[in-house]
Subunit: 224 residues, 2 copies
DNA sequence: CATAGAAAAGTCGGATCCAATATACAATCT
DNA sequence: AGATTGTATATTGGATCCGACTTTTCTATG
């Protein structure tokens, strides 16, 4: 007898679940910058003890999403203008290289998936979904590079600024511009022009970063 | 009355201490690849309970130094040839950029410190100290870039391959070559030639990576 | 003697309990 | 009244205990 076996031990630990939930809540902006995270409170939300919560918080701190102070607790991390600039500069460097490495390895299927994500992006005015769609588009192209180490770092970098990006894109009219630039990047990939795809990706990220900085300097100057 | 004030809050938790100790032991190769890490064994070593140990292990896993499996425990992570290649490629990209950004900001003091680290490197045949000296040299130059985010990522990347690097450099004669290349990089920095410093750094890292791969393919092929 | 199955030991993840520290607030003194 | 000190509460970090799962060992049986 042959059975379709399923690995029942997906056994995501409680800590995994808490970690993923909090990560999602932070990058989507549900938990505001500076907000306190009480271990007890989180534990009761998830019907668990504080132990897995502490492990989750420890991981979040490693990834820069929260800061903790001994005997004081955890707060959602905010980023200074300088830190945001640095992260965008870094992303521009790394993601441009990733897509340069990816283009020669792309096949029709990759490009087709990316094209669908790109179109999806155009017709979607919902900001909550925007972040996911944006990620899907970029990652669908990056995957072809077969560079898991790069991608993991890109993911962590993006996590830290996703929240700000979304705010800026929905409040200003950055989404149309982002869409056009995505189309340009996709065209370069289809044409097999790795250098051009890299250059456009770099400009796309740096441009978004500059727009975000301008936006933040305005809002932060006028007190929220 | 004036007192010499001392911060009595020894800000290091037990988990911090365990984490740093294990990290050091792993990157210095004292804990061999594949070695099992038992929680209560480590706990008794540090005269503590398993709780801080678990937190330390969780952080080590986030940084890729160990892998854990539910109910089975943690083992020191090994890297495949492909993973090592990818990390070197990544380091070459990022560290070249960091030094390019750093050169225009270097002052006499920075260069003097770097020069001393470089000389120290030449006269030191002890492999245990080599890793530290190598790091000091590179970081003393990188610091000038004032890019904490880049540097943190460089640090984590280096942690993962430090062990292999050291093995290769002591068993083959890579140290003299590394020393010469360090001198070249330092000269470019002194001359204020950012592009040249970046190019040399890139070559330095990629060259070390290639040498390491050759070394590993030999040793791994012939069983240990 | 080999092997399947049961029992025992070892290990990990999570719950609960205790200690250390911080914060808020009331009491006291000038 | 204002500042300072003591106290009560809240919160975190660590220890111990318990249940789940894996691995190993032992035993019984063909």
């Amino acid at each position: 007898m042959k059975l379709e076996t399923v690995d029942i031990r997906q056994a995501a630990s409680a800590a995994d679940i808490v970690y993923e939930s909090l990560r999602k809540a932070i990058i989507e902006g549900e938990l505001a910058e500076g907000e306190n995270l009480r271990q007890d409170q989180i534990a009761s939300m998830f019907n668990t003890s504080r132990i897995p919560v502490r492990e989750a918080l420890s991981r979040l701190e490693q990834n820069g999403l929260i800061t903790t102070e001994r005997y004081k607790g955890a707060v959602v991390a905010g980023l200074s203008i300088e830190e945001i600039e640095e992260i965008f500069e870094f992303r521009a460097l790394v993601e441009a290289e990733v897509i340069r490495l990816a283009v020669p390895k792309m096949n029709a299927r990759t490009l087709d998936i990316a094209r669908r994500h790109c179109e999806e992006f155009g017709g979607e005015p919902n900001s909550a979904k925007w972040g996911e769609i944006n990620r899907n588009f970029h990652y669908s192209l990056y995957e072809a590079a077969r560079r898991p180490y790069y991608l993991q770092i890109v993911r962590v970098s993006l996590d830290r600024i996703d929240r700000y990006l979304r705010a800026q894109l929905t409040l200003t009219d950055g989404m149309n511009r982002a869409w056009r630039e995505h189309q340009g990047i996709l065209d370069a990939c289809i044409g097999g022009d790795a250098d051009r795809a890299a250059e456009l990706t770099r400009d796309h990220i740096l441009g978004a970063g500059r727009a975000l900085i301008v936006f933040l300097e305005e809002t932060r100057a006028h007190g929220d």
